[in-house]
């Protein structure tokens, strides 16, 4: 019970992390051949790889987030610390997922000259929905913790 690897939360996060690392590694290895990376401009390749790394970093930070809450004097202080960490993580979560969508759009529309605006419009719509959806999820989680902090404040 005192080992991190035996925790249910840890197992769930580790499983998700493993899946994401595998999936994005496969994309990284095969995208160049499968999606004609050689024919795309260098900047499009760099943007895509950077976005994949951002998403993977997000997952790793997510794993770190389930690490010890630690001792911070009293409940209010500990919750405030958790709230701060959660806010930062939420921002990174939304940004990394948004960057992934933008990178995909940049990569696939890089060599398209005709109807490039269709890609831009589609990517914009997907980005809006994604950011809206993620913001709502994180907003609800932050609200619960923020309310708890308020309730233990004078």
């Amino acid at each position: 019970m005192l080992q991190a690897r035996t925790r249910t939360v840890y197992k769930q996060v580790r499983r998700q992390l493993l899946w994401e690392v595998c999936a994005f590694s496969v994309i990284l290895i095969f995208y160049y051949d499968a999606f004609d990376g050689a024919r795309k401009p260098v900047y499009a390749n760099i943007v895509l790889v950077a976005a994949i790394l951002a998403v993977l970093t997000h997952s790793l930070l997510g794993y770190r987030r389930v690490q010890p809450v630690g001792e911070t004097g009293h409940l209010r202080g500990a919750l405030e610390k958790q709230l701060k960490r959660l806010r930062v993580y939420a921002i990174y979560s939304v940004l990394s997922r948004g960057a992934w969508t933008i990178a995909l759009a940049v990569f696939f529309s890089a060599t398209i000259t005709v109807h490039g605006w269709v890609f831009a419009a589609a990517a914009g719509a997907i980005l809006t929905v994604q950011v809206f959806w993620l913001s709502r999820i994180w907003g609800a989680r932050i609200r619960v913790l923020r309310d708890a902090v308020k309730q233990v404040s004078a």
Partner: protein, 158 residues
């Protein structure tokens, strides 16, 4: 603190952890997960325990922070019974009353649950204030409101 001492202390105070898990999680599986998570967080936080307060006081802080800060979606509470009862539960049954009280506490906000749990553990206002970071006066005011809220909840769900 070595592992053996820590586990002995956890064993001595496990009732506290069970109560916190009972208050913050409805489904038995979620309670087990939370219990496991709290013990892990306590173990990892042990270096921060300087013995300035009682072990139980420190334990409440870490356990309540873990319970409140965990945002994972809880499972729906499902209860399986071997046999359906022939008669409805007796209204005066202490077990039934206890269950009703836990249900009412379960409907409170996370921080309110923390305060009432500490209160039901017979902790003084001073001790509750030390754990939560509130002033003693504030603890009293908030507990009065919570008690009133619980009364209302018990009346509306007899």
């Amino acid at each position: 603190m070595d592992e053996t001492t820590f586990l002995r202390l956890i064993e001595d105070h496990q009732d506290i952890l069970y109560k916190i898990c009972r208050v913050y999680r409805s489904a038995p599986e979620d309670r087990k997960d939370l219990f496991q998570e709290i013990v892990y967080q306590l173990w990892k936080s042990v270096p921060g325990f300087r013995g300035q307060s009682a072990f139980s006081t420190w334990m409440y802080r870490v356990a309540l922070t873990t319970a409140i800060a965990d945002f994972r979606k809880p499972r729906p509470p499902l209860r399986y019974v071997e046999q359906l009862p022939d008669r409805p539960g007796e209204p005066g049954n202490p077990e039934e009353a206890r269950e009703r009280l836990f249900r009412a506490i379960g409907a409170l906000a996370p921080a309110e649950k923390a305060l009432i749990t500490l209160y039901l553990e017979d902790l003084s206002y001073r001790e509750i204030a030390a754990i939560t970071g509130l002033s003693e006066n504030n603890v009293g005011v908030k507990l009065n409101r919570i008690r009133h809220k619980i009364e209302q909840l018990l009346k509306s769900h007899p």
